[in-house]
Symmetry: C2
Subunit: 359 residues, 2 copies
């Protein structure tokens, strides 16, 4: 669906939610609806089109980016609430929806004060639920991001790994993906060596990479769309324990991938992975959910935790990322992105089939 159609379609359904207009503050939602990619904006959407409000820094960029979005007008302003007040008055808005998760308590109070006589209604997930299933253009962007990330992961194999620190390896990978066209990283690249692989979200340090597991969790952003994948290598000869634990996580990963299909409840995918890890005796070392949706945000719907009631639908893009993390020893996570199909799924980048050894 073209960007300009998205806002129009949403505009038409506002009355179903008991609102005349909607104030959208989440930047990924704004990008989805208008094409604007800057770091500061609000989007007012009524049934007859919308207004993108941003500040003078983004004057040129915003004008260029919203060109394709017919019905979206640009307002450059210093005080967005002042300008919004005028728009709301002109459009005779009585009931204004807003994003309860994206507006702070103080922000809500400021809206109340600025728009006297307007009833404010928190409305959740109106845009997010449209973003959850990807269209062709979005899938193209995601595939491009993954292709670029793959070059980054491959570059690890040529690195003189034992002469580098975690931080050096992280920046080397980032340089590779940026020279391949990544606009930015999806999140701070995780590079963890040896014992530090037991920390699922370890930030790279200036410590030298040592023998043992090496976990790299990295993603790139291209056209706003994100990738998010994790590969775990072994530096030097793996012990039996290294091989065993990697094998368990790999099997959990493969079982979860095998469970993905349209119509399946997301918790069943988590259960497929968790069962393997529990059975192998590592249940308490797998503390997070099995995955999440990826798109304009690196974490978006659906959730793939043990309690998720989300139902998988064709066109969703999700991660499958089971892990085992043993404090004081180390850990493994294997994370791929998959596209949910009507029957089964497509793994968007085939990761490592077995434990890869780096020397």
């Amino acid at each position: 669906m073209a960007v300009n159609v998205r806002a129009r379609e949403l505009g038409k359904e506002l009355d179903k939610h008991g609102i005349d207009a909607m104030l959208i503050t989440d930047l990924a939602n704004i990008r989805y609806l208008t094409g604007f990619s800057g770091s500061s904006a609000r989007f007012f959407l009524g049934s007859r089109g919308g207004y993108l409000l941003t500040d003078s820094r983004y004057k040129l960029q915003a004008a260029a980016e919203i060109k394709g979005s017919s019905g979206v007008r640009l307002r450059i302003c210093k005080t967005a609430n002042l300008e919004l007040g005028r728009i709301i008055e002109k459009a005779s808005v009585k009931k204004l929806g807003f994003e309860g998760s994206g507006v702070s308590y103080d922000g809500y109070r400021a809206l109340k004060k600025a728009f006297k006589g307007v009833s404010l209604k928190p409305v959740a997930g109106l845009v997010e639920k449209r973003r959850i299933v990807k269209d062709k253009g979005e899938l193209r962007a995601i595939r491009r991001a993954i292709a670029v990330a793959t070059k980054g992961f491959e570059s690890v194999e040529n690195a003189e790994i034992l002469k580098m620190t975690e931080a050096e390896l992280a920046s080397r990978i980032e340089m590779v993906v940026k020279s391949e066209g990544a606009e930015s990283m999806s999140f701070s690249t995780i590079v963890a060596s040896a014992k530090r692989t037991a920390l699922p979200h370890a930030m790279p340090t200036n410590r030298a990479i040592k023998k043992g597991f090496l976990t790299i969790d990295m993603g790139v952003s291209l056209g706003g769309y994100k990738s998010d994948e994790t590969r775990t290598f072994c530096v030097g000869e793996p012990t039996k324990r290294h091989r065993d634990i990697y094998g368990v996580v790999k099997e959990a990963h493969d079982r979860a991938v095998g469970a993905v299909s349209a119509g399946v409840v997301a918790s069943a995918v988590d259960a497929a992975a968790r069962k393997v890890i529990k059975k192998a005796g590592y249940g308490k070392y797998f503390g997070h959910g099995t995955g999440h949706g990826v798109g304009l945000d690196v974490h978006e719907g659906p959730g793939l935790g043990p309690k998720s009631k989300d139902i998988l639908r064709e066109g969703m893009v999700i991660t499958i990322e089971p892990g085992i993390y043993i404090p004081g020893w180390g850990g493994v996570r294997i994370e791929d992105m998959v596209l949910v199909k009507g029957c089964g799924c497509e793994v968007l980048a085939e990761g490592l089939q077995e434990l890869r050894i780096l020397r």
Copy 2:
């Protein structure tokens, strides 16, 4: 002031604000008070110590990081509000302060629901106002971040600039600062060439760097503390217009630096820069404020906009960053970080004294 003293001191003044305890959700505030640097946490602070709540991913890291903070206890939990409810009950909290700017409207509703019988009171800036003046340890961290960033800026001079894209130059700089010890970037590095320098917040593209202005706005994070500086170079021989506009911005910058001193109202520093730019006829091309505080956040108090009523105090670290941005032609920003002194200020990294030409 040591981290463990910070929480204790704040705990003692809660009753002055009409609250028994405070729920802190802003991650930089949590880091300031406890030392914890992870990406997910809440900090409950009562008059007799506090509880840091985070999830299982951060179990090891949190335990290590809060070690120095006596009186801060760690709680690993899946549902923070549930655990908080227990703590609040045990501590007989009647009035709980929270950060109105950091808690979303939905988050506020969830607190209301979870802590029945507790009166919730938004309290603004309790931690921020303590962070605004830096202590010796913080200044050391900021100086280290700036020293590393300087290496990144210097690396531009040896680059084969006309053979690179904006994105390649950005990642080259990032690799240099990371190999020099940067933990992460303070923000997405801005590299803009030629006409794109007219966009104050241009993200690097895959377009080749061309002759004309080259603006690099970059900062590094070290121990959580940020740097934020901008240098504008000229690629190839500058025209008279290049030299003139650079000269105006440089004079505006120097006048603003000259106006910084403890006791001065921040808007006067902005006025010092703005006057020079207006007088030269470029007033409408300088749309943003002259600077902001920098610390654990890359943007924090004080603000140095035209309307700022903040009074500068000794030990504040601020940016001075006037600019001129001419749509369709290009722009210049010169940004340095300065430490406010009792009398005058110290420029923390001497930037470029004149327009540097790259070939």
